[in-house]
């Protein structure tokens, strides 16, 4: 029986009000309504889509049927299924002359398509035609479609007609034309910029509805440019006055309130115009005061207007009387039982509090009530208010409340927001360091994975630097309390990764600082962390670095380090890790454990995390020494590249080093291939005049990058470089990075050329051998090197003269000399110090030889300078970087930076030592240099 009734009603609905829906549509709606699961619903819709696809393919579909299909398509899309296969039919339907069909077509099209859809272009013509229709309903339908379908490109096609419609005799059309223009303005302000005066004109329209519609675009325009609409202030005020005085026809009343939506819009505009403008604000006082008096606070819409008044008053420069009225209205809102009004009251309070901060006090209890309210929206609004009124006197209460709430909610979006607010307030108003740390701990503990990583870095920096006062005692207390709290929290399961990173870092840096906790205790804790979160590489990286620091401090203070067994096993595990970063850290830690106290201390000085590491890229501190050396007969430095001709590899490597610290990817164009091209090209060109000096010449263009003359040959030459580069990457990189020493040992045997080189000139062999990759080239080079040294000079001079403008810096070459010294630390990999000495001397000697035979060429020396500054500092930076910059988080610790070292794991100890030396040299160049050189040069 029940069912029969239903069907009866169904049919009745279908036939009378339903615009002739068919049985199929009713069935569709019904079966979807009965679907018990989303899957079932999807199944029904998919089969419906199949049916429609089939039916739409049929020829000669009666229009009535087609209309129904389209309605069904719309319905399907509303349920979230793609109906794009039928879009074209909807587009076609807009062309129909039958109003019902046309409107159906427009409806479907406006729902289906957005402004950027390809099919829009097919509708523009119809819209144009319909805009000219005599039937204003057709015009309205077209204007409606315009609003949703016209994009920037099609605006000009309809713009003139829309402008004409601004003077249409029907106010409904005028209204919609205004809105369409407004739409154009939003889409592309420039397209209607010449028509803006029309909005002003329409403000004086006879029809209040049109006037009301004009307020929408004017609101936008005034937001963009307040100054040029100041003249309208009194017009708006008088309009509002007339509205409130019920001058509008009775039909504009809504719930006994005259045109409330127009009033609200006007109040919004007044807020814009009166903001920061005393005289404009004063004009508004009267009408605002009237509104407060007249508004009926028993209806919803009356309260809406009251609220809008409060909002306006908070924007303009208010009079005390108005403020009072606003405060009264707010307290009425807050005292109301309606949650909606309470919400508005809290919002209004938040706005007014900026102007008169003490206003909140009288509403304390109401605010607290809202905070306890079960309504989440109200609660959040109240937290927003609290956030706005936080001072150092109430920060503790407020932040505690916020954190409690944060813990209680599951909505990650809001959790993130409130967490960041807690952090912000805590940073800004923290009454004590301990409190601050506690709050941060809570935030990290409960929302650690949601807060920005910057927050963590800030916290670490804050702990490291203290709170700005130069009170070391307070700082160390802060650190101790942080360490204590972390040790306590660590035992809790499942801490967020970010929090663990902070904990590890702080423990590493300050865990043993006060002597309260032993190194083995802290390191045990760190091992536990690395163990418990073994899938989190970042945390592990932090933990290992922290271990390294702990041990370093132990070693540096002269205590004997007992590596815990679990620590040892952790290191061993990481030595074989797939993550190069972790591996690197493990190797570093291993190497560090074997160093003596002095070296360790210079690598990881105590509490130096916030000291800037200054990298003297020019190595100017060595100038004096070099000068001295040269004066006493030493040969100036010839850069490695120059010596070997392996431009591309060195260059590549240096670039690699350069890049790594800053970005992972390189976006500049390749400049590297140039050298190789030059070299090869040079070699072809210069073969007849082979010369050792040739190398330096080849460099010159590279470094200056003035390759224009040689550009023609570049393309084919580039290939050479590339090939070489990929040929034996690991070896190459290590060699180039590690300077020449190893070559002397292993390079010689592998190279035929070496024989030649060594026979004729011993020193050369070493760097000759360094370019094993470039066999054919090398031969040529060797030939050029050893063939006729004297003849090439003139050639080189001329060419170098061409490129090299900077001749003046004659003192530069000596300055650069130390370079060979610098790289070794990083590069020691294969070689013993003695080997280094060989190579180091080689270039000097060679250059000396060259210089003997020819007058020293300013250009060439300068080239070296350029080259050096390009390549050598890189190595220093990286080495210092990799070992000392603990601050950088693990992700930043570039695998690339470390790679060279990783590969030479066993020897990294030496690298560390050297590095320490280098650092010391930086501090005290004169005393240290000699030893260093002794060490290096044997």
């Amino acid at each position: 029986m029940e069912q029969l009734k239903t069907i009866g009603r169904e049919l009745a609905m279908g036939s009378q009000g339903g615009f002739g829906q068919s049985k199929e549509f009713l069935d569709l709606v019904k079966s979807i309504g009965e679907a018990r699961s989303k899957a079932e619903e999807d199944r029904i819709v998919l089969s419906e889509i199949d049916i429609l696809k089939r039916k739409l393919l049929e020829p000669d579909i009666p229009k009535r049927k087609m209309k129904e299909y389209i309605i069904r398509l719309v319905y399907i899309e509303m349920l979230g299924h793609d109906a794009s296969f039928g879009y074209i039919h909807a587009v076609k339907m807009t062309h129909d002359d039958n109003l019902l069909l046309k409107r159906t077509g427009y409806l479907a099209v406006t729902l289906f398509l957005n402004e950027d859809h390809d099919l829009i272009i097919l509708i523009v013509n119809t819209i144009q035609k319909d805009l000219r229709s005599d039937n204003y309903l057709v015009v309205c339908a077209a204007l409606n479609a315009i609003c949703r379908l016209i994009n920037e490109e099609t605006i000009p096609a309809v713009l003139p007609q829309v402008v004409d419609l601004l003077n249409h005799h029907k106010e409904a059309v005028r209204k919609k034309a205004i809105m369409a223009l407004h739409r154009f303005h939003r889409k592309s302000p420039s397209s209607v910029s010449h028509l803006i005066s029309n909005f002003r004109k329409r403000l004086c329209d006879n029809d209040p509805g049109v006037m009301g519609a004009t307020l929408c675009p004017l609101f936008d325009l005034i937001t963009e440019d307040v100054a040029s609409y100041k003249d309208l202030v009194s017009s708006f005020v008088s309009i509002l006055k007339q509205v409130t005085e019920r001058r509008l026809p009775k039909s504009y009343d809504y719930h006994q309130m005259p045109a409330p939506f127009i009033q609200i819009k006007l109040l919004k505009i007044m807020a814009l115009l009166g903001s920061g403008d005393k005289s404009a604000s004063e004009i508004m006082y009267m009408v605002l005061g009237d509104l407060f008096r007249k508004c009926d606070s028993s209806t919803n819409i009356g309260n809406a207007i009251l609220y809008e008044c409060i909002r306006s008053i908070s924007c303009i420069i208010p009079s005390p009387k108005l403020l009072e009225a606003a405060a009264d209205a707010i307290s009425k809102f807050l005292k109301s039982d309606s949650h909606n009004l309470k919400y508005m009251g809290i919002d209004g309070l938040g706005r007014l509090i900026k102007i008169s901060p003490d206003i909140a006090e009288q509403h304390q209890l109401a605010v607290i009530d809202c905070l306890e309210d079960p309504d989440d929206t109200l609660k959040r609004k109240t937290f927003e208010l609290l956030y706005k009124m936080t001072k150092s006197s109430n920060v503790e209460v407020i932040v505690d409340r916020m954190i409690d709430y944060m813990i209680s909610i599951n909505d990650n979006h809001y959790k993130t927001e409130i967490a960041s607010r807690c952090v912000e307030l805590a940073e800004q108003f923290a009454p004590s360091n301990q409190w601050f740390i506690q709050i941060m701990n809570k935030v990290f503990e409960h929302a650690g994975d949601l807060v920005n990583i910057k927050v963590a870095h800030n916290l670490m920096r804050l702990i490291a630097e203290g709170f700005g006062e130069d009170d070391d005692d307070a700082d160390s207390k802060l650190r101790l309390s942080a360490v204590e709290s972390y040790l306590q929290i660590m035992s809790e399961p499942k801490l967020p990764s970010l929090f663990l990173q902070v904990i590890s870092w702080v423990l590493g840096e300050y865990g043993t600082a006060d002597g309260k906790y032993s190194a083995s205790y802290i390191s045990g804790k760190l091992c536990d962390v690395a163990d418990a979160y073994s899938s989190d590489e970042t945390v592990k990286g932090y933990a290992v670095s922290a271990l390294m620091k702990i041990y370093a401090f132990e070693i540096a203070s002269g205590r004997k380090v007992d590596v815990l067994p679990e620590c040892q096993s952790l290191i061993e595990e990481l030595l074989a890790s797939h993550s190069t970063d972790l591996q690197q850290r493990a190797y570093e830690l291993q190497a560090l454990l074997a160093l003596d106290a002095r070296a360790v201390e210079s690598i990881l000085p105590l509490d130096a995390s916030c000291e800037d590491i200054e990298v003297d890229k020019d190595l100017s501190f060595l100038n004096g020494y070099i000068q001295q050396a040269i004066e006493s007969g030493a040969q100036p430095y010839i850069s490695e590249r120059e010596r070997s001709g392996m431009l591309e590899t060195t260059d590549y490597h240096s670039q690699d080093h350069h890049e790594v610290p800053s970005h992972a990817l390189r976006f500049e164009a390749y400049e590297r291939p140039k050298p190789s091209s030059l070299r090869t090209q040079a070699s072809t060109e210069l073969v007849p005049v082979p010369e050792p000096s040739y190398y330096s010449e080849a460099h010159q263009p590279i470094s200056t990058s003035s390759v224009s003359e040689r550009e023609s040959s570049e393309i084919k030459l580039r290939l050479d470089g590339v090939k070489q580069k990929w040929g034996r990457p690991s070896y190459q990189s290590s060699t180039s990075a590690s300077s020449t020493p190893p070559q002397a040992a292993n390079g010689t045997s592998s190279h035929p050329d070496v024989g030649v080189g060594s026979s004729s000139l011993k020193p050369r062999s070493s760097y000759e051998s360094k370019k094993p990759e470039i066999d054919p080239e090398k031969q040529r080079l060797a030939a050029s090197l050893f063939g006729g040294s004297s003849s090439s000079r003139s050639d080189r001079k001329s060419s170098s003269g061409g490129h090299k403008p900077a001749k003046g810096t004659a003192s530069k070459p000596p300055k650069e000399n130390p370079i060979p010294v610098q790289p070794p630390p990083d590069l020691l990999d294969f070689g013993e110090p003695t080997a280094t000495s060989v190579t180091a001397t080689d270039p000097f000697k060679e250059l000396e030889g060259l210089m003997d035979s020819s007058s020293q060429d300013g250009g060439s020396t300068d080239v070296m300078g350029v080259l050096y500054s390009d390549a050598a500092p890189v190595t220093t930076t990286t080495s210092v970087d990799s070992l000392l910059s603990e601050l950088s988080d693990s992700s930043k610790g570039n695998p690339g930076t470390y790679q060279s070292q990783t590969s030479k794991g066993p020897n990294s100890q030496e690298a560390l030592e050297k590095d320490a030396l280098v650092r010391q040299m930086g501090v005290n160049p004169t005393s240290q240099n000699p030893t260093l050189f002794k060490d290096l040069l044997g």
């Binding site: 018990r36 899309e77 039958n98 409806l107 309903l137 609101f219 936008d220 039909s251 809406a304 929206t377």
Partner: protein
């Protein structure tokens, strides 16, 4: 109040004016945590008008925000579902407002009203006044009530195009255009009359032309 036949037919005939709490049988995923709209332009407008029944079935959805309209339908559906899951978790007797940044981008607000088996939802941004928007829903419902004399969910489902006609008179391109329900009614009636007229006039010729195979 009209016959309630929820057992046999899924769409209720309850008059919307009779507020009744009916829930359950919801088959939807949890709240959509990540907003589908990462960033939304600062456009002052009504972003969406939605109607859905208490089971989460969309009955009408119209988006005005360009960014939402550019989304594929599935994403739009996700938004609707997200809104519903928030609404359905709201207790009784709380405010009708929601901040819905997580779904519609920063500074998005939502006002909803629960009538019988339907939720009426307006999504807008900070430039609008929540209380006024609540009244806009009231305007819409009052107008529909006049249109269908005692409107119920079924009217809305089966009079899809008329629903849109009404809505288009009230909200135009994301802005409030008209709030006088009498005025809206007049416009809608005129359209209906004309449509009916054009339909009956075209009935004969249309069928003839239809037979001739033209289109």
């Amino acid at each position: 109040m009209k016959v309630t036949t929820r057992g046999s037919f899924p769409i209720s005939y309850e008059s919307l004016r009779v507020k009744q709490k009916v829930r359950g049988g919801v088959h939807h995923q949890g709240p959509n945590e990540i907003g589908v709209l990462g960033v939304s332009g600062i456009v002052k407008m009504i972003k969406a008008v939605m109607m859905m029944n208490t089971q989460g079935k969309p009955r009408l959805a119209k988006f005005y925000d360009f960014l939402v309209r550019c989304l594929p339908v599935e994403k739009q559906q996700e938004l609707i579902r997200g809104v519903f899951s928030v609404l359905s978790s709201r207790p009784e007797n709380v405010s009708n407002f929601l901040e819905i940044d997580s779904l519609f981008g920063p500074d998005s607000r939502l006002v909803y009203k629960h009538y019988a088996t339907l939720y009426f939802v307006l999504v807008f941004d900070g430039s609008e006044n929540e209380l006024a928007m609540l009244d806009l829903i009231q305007v819409l419902v009052e107008t529909l009530d006049k249109c269908f004399s005692n409107v119920c969910e079924l009217d809305i489902v089966f009079n899809y195009s008329k629903m849109h006609t009404v809505l288009d008179e009230i909200v135009f391109g994301g802005q409030v255009l008209e709030t006088r329900s009498d005025e809206i009614m007049k416009a809608v009636e005129e359209i209906s009359k004309l449509e009916a007229a054009s339909n009956s006039i075209s009935l004969v010729p249309k069928s003839v032309s239809g037979w001739r195979g033209g289109r």
